[in-house]
Symmetry: C3
Subunit: 384 residues, 3 copies
Amino acid sequence: MERATPPGRREPALRYDSGVTGPPVLGALPPFARVAVLATLGASFLAIVLDFGLHADPTVVFLISAAGILGLAWVVGLATERLGALTGPRMGGILNATFGNVAELIIAFFALQAGLIDVVKASLTGSIIGNLLFVLGVSVLVGGFRNGVQRFSKEVAGSNAALLAVAAIALFVPAVLALTTRDSSPGRLTEESVLVAVLLILGYVLSIVFQFTHPSLTLGGHEPLEGHGGPAWTIRVAVVVLLAAAALLAVLSEVLVGAIVPFIERFGLSTFFVGVVLIPTIGNLAEHLVAVQLAWKNKMEFAMAVCYGSSLQVALFVAPALVLLGLVVNQPMNLVFEPLEVAAVGAAVGISALIALDGESNWLEGALLTIVYVILAVSFFEFA
Amino acid sequence: MERATPPGRREPALRYDSGVTGPPVLGALPPFARVAVLATLGASFLAIVLDFGLHADPTVVFLISAAGILGLAWVVGLATERLGALTGPRMGGILNATFGNVAELIIAFFALQAGLIDVVKASLTGSIIGNLLFVLGVSVLVGGFRNGVQRFSKEVAGSNAALLAVAAIALFVPAVLALTTRDSSPGRLTEESVLVAVLLILGYVLSIVFQFTHPSLTLGGHEPLEGHGGPAWTIRVAVVVLLAAAALLAVLSEVLVGAIVPFIERFGLSTFFVGVVLIPTIGNLAEHLVAVQLAWKNKMEFAMAVCYGSSLQVALFVAPALVLLGLVVNQPMNLVFEPLEVAAVGAAVGISALIALDGESNWLEGALLTIVYVILAVSFFEFA
Amino acid sequence: MERATPPGRREPALRYDSGVTGPPVLGALPPFARVAVLATLGASFLAIVLDFGLHADPTVVFLISAAGILGLAWVVGLATERLGALTGPRMGGILNATFGNVAELIIAFFALQAGLIDVVKASLTGSIIGNLLFVLGVSVLVGGFRNGVQRFSKEVAGSNAALLAVAAIALFVPAVLALTTRDSSPGRLTEESVLVAVLLILGYVLSIVFQFTHPSLTLGGHEPLEGHGGPAWTIRVAVVVLLAAAALLAVLSEVLVGAIVPFIERFGLSTFFVGVVLIPTIGNLAEHLVAVQLAWKNKMEFAMAVCYGSSLQVALFVAPALVLLGLVVNQPMNLVFEPLEVAAVGAAVGISALIALDGESNWLEGALLTIVYVILAVSFFEFA
């Protein structure tokens, strides 16, 4: 990145300096992306106006704010990617680990503040099984369909799977304790959950230190993929975009959360279905598309790393952060998940480890993973 | 198979044309197999006469019809093998996937029609753990005893194990849902089970498509093993044998099922023991012997493929087919297995994946697998 | 070991014959170890005097006898190691398999005789999760911290992990049966446990036969590591040391067990915490240090083998031996563990298998394993 440039040869990195040669934000994007950004902004302002100004029907508010959040999560991803490409693999890894699941964290925070604790917990479960079954499933299916049997490093995939399994088990210990103990006073379970949250955050900090010291081994630190350095923004533009998108995301999340309960009641949905299926999809769809795209381009290792890495962040960062934030906003949230959630995550982690460890994937595996996800989604739909 | 034959050289395939050169069915078999076929026919007719004609003691009827079914399942296997060898690896794979567990399906269907739903569900569990613990265990034990440490492809074995794990998890979701939900009305559970059955059948159809498009990757598609092309029947003979054996199997299954309840009461057995241990053994013993034989000949990869493949068929085809057939014969069967069954299958799938993924097996692993099977069999014996 | 020595060259093995050239026991040890042995003896006699002579405060007795047992377990290890080095890999494997967990067995036996059945069962759980999470975690952490990413044979580690998983599942079947059956009379569960114990002992005998016939494949049979042949004792000295240390261990175990109940009451500890965390640590700490030391020296494969091997011995030998000894001393102990114990061991076995199967470890994995152990230890602390 910082090689000396021979005189007389134009340094191609200058091409990125779009702050000079064009409009700072949209100009750096390909035409399709410009439309998407404008649509995102439109949906966002429409949702805000409908909610605060017109007190519109909650279903409409829910759907339009969901569309806005989808787009904003994607913009956050673009800015993070760009910052990572400009600051090198180490900082890039840390940025990715911090902002990778920021949309999810923001939505869940507002839901927590609104007292929708069951929805928040279900969204953590849903994010993990969504990544490990649905996104991984569709990626393997699409990748295998186009590229035949795909091979990848057993060591890298296996190591990611092992880290994820350890983190998931740590996250679910309070739930298992609550299920099996005879004396489960709520205070005790919250106490245990806070302690687990602190230990998980410690694990998260260690994982960032590890990424920083072993950049070649981890997701965030690989050489930027072709076409995956993000748009040609300067650092200042990227930072401004990131902050603006995150702020707008916060406003929209509050709007979305305010519409959840009427939306659930209107369609007779179960809380678990909304938490497990809808919320994580809204927060993560942009990331999901990246994984599928990578699989399509036969970069299965990266696609798997996105799925595992995102799940790992939920277990080590999003979930414990919400427990601690719950104390701050006086909505104490424990980590006592429903048995069906524990079973679903256990199954998802186990299956994805098996898929990783044989070093090969094919479209049939992807199709079956997707089928398992659909079966689980239906089960949460019926779960009460 | 269809190479041009140089003139003056006798095409060896003509040797198969036993319809011309000898008795069409028995003449193509080695002497031992001829005796076995005749014994099978003898047992079959004896069982029918004892049951329909003489109303003999149910225990005698149970044992003799079981012997007949054992033999008929083996004859079905021979005919399937022969048809596969004659029609090439693609059709062979499909035939194998369709007729591989036909004996089991027929017995279970008659048990279902007779309302023995617990026995049917237990037989599905028993078939999976029997394949993954007992048959795999004995194969690894016998193979390791004769051949020392056996090595095999981690990729192929691991891929089979991963497919099986995904299918098994999908199959057991309704049971976990029923265990963990607070509102488990029977109607809802049957509804969920039917939906899961339809999705499993979809997975089964996809697995057949996969076999057809990737014949080199799957069990049914490998080059016919030496001595594993089946007897030298013509296509017409093989089809007739297949249909006749299946028809006789259906008659005997009805006889067997009629004798199950008196047999259970006579010996004070638990329903689960009969379902988990006895029924799958009767339906699968012929296939079991093939796996053990392959391990003995140091073809561990094929032996493992038989065990995994047979379990996969139970999860993706036999179980959902029975759910759908249950609707037809008005004996609605859900997929809500007993917790002990869920735990046993979970353990069996997990262990067999571990055995597959290290790419090596030795007789001690086989002995311990067999011990786990015996412990589980005893548990189902005591289970009530 | 028994090569002919060329005349005129002094056979280095003579150096071992410390019975001639110095004091037979302590003279063969490096200075630090001499101090440790003397401290162990001092603690042992002090504990005995305080308990039998002075009827001292149970907390003091508990702590001093624990210190004595820690040291004696280490001395037993030294003697076993030395005997193994003198008698060759085959006998060494058997000795190791017999005396490796002898301290644990002796403590548990006295606790069983005193009727502390819950403590005994919890100590079995604690020994397995301590080995697989805490010791393995610290080893991987320390080893990775010093040596970077550590690679090891997937086959050896995977095979050990598979054996362990099979043994652990067999051990926990009675607990799962008890959890899931509707008719769980205590007599029936003890009956089932005795049968499982007999089958596990059979597995243990088979594993010793396997070690004897395949010495190159197993832990006990590898070439003695540099500095791991034990002190330079003669066979006679080593046998005398082994027997004396074991006898003293028995006396101290009785002292320790007598102080457990007052100790638990004094500090308000849960039985499970003492059983899962304290007792296994006292019995196994010496062995733990060996594993960590091996990881530090970048011999990760051996460190993992110590962890898996020790857990395997608990499942196949210590646990069933205690069930059978319980019948002898009329304290019938079944294998019905608490659900939290089943979940904890299941998680520990699963995680350690994943760590083994990717063939690589790094300090982050070690840190997360240790965090999971701490979370589980806290859970057992709160468990009641």
